[in-house]
Symmetry: C2
Subunit: 250 residues, 2 copies
DNA sequence: CGCTCGGTTGACCCGTTTCAAGTAACGTGG
DNA sequence: CCACGTTACTTGAAACGGGTCAACCGAGCG
């Protein structure tokens, strides 16, 4: 077992082993087991010995700790962040159901990000050494794992594009559409959802100050494109929201 | 063979098969074969059937094309970029000897970036399906591949941090130090090197306009921290350059 | 019920972009 | 090898977007 999720263990949040089987998990089509047959899923499930509950505000991972496991989000919502040299925090990603936490740590065998739950959540611990081991005999698992890593790279490239050349309102539009799409894939409403994170966290992720986030959201609302009420967003006009991202050319 | 590197093939830039063996490649310690024994390196080498020469300004990859192979930079220098919806190009990364091109394409099986050589270069084509296949029997290769993907993620996180919260001069400082470190690892001078890319490309990568890049470099020079002469940079005071990155706190 | 934290909005300021002009390096063809 | 056109780069001045500072509001929680 990893020594990273110390909090969770110390507080007795480990969920019973039986519950953690992939075979009966509703995320089979989103998470690592995509496409695996019964037997293969069973093998993968055996590898996941521990499932943790992480309460809102609690950390799952700390930068600097030794890497030994990835964590698959079973339910809930996480943010990852790094502290830069002058102590301010920079959000590097938000993670929802079926997504993998800790991929950044493989390269140096140390975690480079801190990861904290933004709502009460559950994760499955995936011992990475064992994952590599069993993926030798389950090519599909290996391949899907590679896809998940690649997806993280693509996602980061998208953010880099936003940060590099987009104005505040365009960044917000892209951010909302990204959340919308990921929620839709998970069976939630794509037009009506709760922002789990604060304005400051959105701003940190998008390279903006919280005031700018607030102003931009207000402006999108004035234009009738979204309705925003505290943490609750409704996307009224996805088409116009998409247009926001395409420069000012039309 | 992939159909992506069409230019290269059409123009007869394919290098003889014998030359492309990993076993005799000077990059064994940087590239995929890290840590492999003779036999394993042989197997990996057999997989790399083609090596291409890409001349300065020529593309190796185009966004949208089907993915089938990764490309290891054997020598030379590349940039990757995406075209955003209004046609402007955004640089997503620079790649040097021993680094892998095309990792972003695994997730969707389409390339998402364009990749172009910034100087006359050579790459080894690594058919991805076969790489996955042989990595089943060479755990170290699989693990090292995972590390390389993870490294790309970490690198992207670093850029996101730069773009999100750093001022122009700080971004330039970080950029120069990043290049310096990577060059050092490859046995080149860490204080004295050529910028293969234009000011505009640096700016695109760092989320700045070329004029701002130029001004920031000039300012670093005025302060005596670097000497810059056209494309040639000398880092005169790496310590002060590093300090630039640590906010304005000291 | 009151405190705290998160969010909104306004006014001003600063850094980067934009626009513009001029200069230096480079590659090409004569 | 030089002349030329092209591309890359530098530098200045003005405009603008987002940051900063500050006041206020509202929701959630103890």
């Amino acid at each position: 077992m990893s020594n990273n999720a110390i909090n969770a263990i110390a507080r007795g949040y480990v969920v019973s082993r039986a519950e953690s089987k992939c075979a009966t998990c509703s995320l089979r089509e989103l998470c690592l087991p995509v496409g695996l047959d019964e037997r293969e899923t069973e093998i993968l499930g055996d590898l996941i010995n521990h499932k943790f509950r992480i309460r809102r505000g609690e950390h799952l991972l700390h930068a600097g700790l030794d890497f030994s496991s990835l964590y698959a989000v079973r339910n809930g919502f996480f943010k990852s962040y790094v502290l830069d040299s002058d102590g301010r925090q920079q959000v590097t990603g938000f993670y929802m159901t079926g997504e993998l936490l800790g991929l950044d740590a493989i390269s140096s065998e140390k975690h480079t990000c801190n990861t904290v739950a933004l709502e009460d959540s559950e994760v499955c611990e995936v011992p990475f050494g064992k994952l590599e081991e069993i993926s030798r005999s389950i090519p599909l698992l290996m391949h899907h794992f590679h896809k998940m890593m690649s997806r993280e790279i693509v996602q980061d490239h998208n953010i880099m594009m936003l940060l590099g050349s987009r104005k505040a309102e365009e960044r917000l539009a892209a951010f909302l559409l990204n959340l919308s799409g990921r929620l839709a894939k998970r069976g939630y409403s794509s037009t009506n959802f709760i922002l789990r994170m604060t304005r400051e966290e959105i701003g940190s992720y998008l390279g903006l100050k919280l005031e700018t986030v607030s102003r931009s959201l207000s402006r999108l609302q004035e234009e009738g494109i979204i309705t925003i009420n505290n943490k609750h967003v409704r996307l009224n006009d996805i088409h116009r929201l998409s247009q926001k991202i395409c420069g000012s050319s039309d």
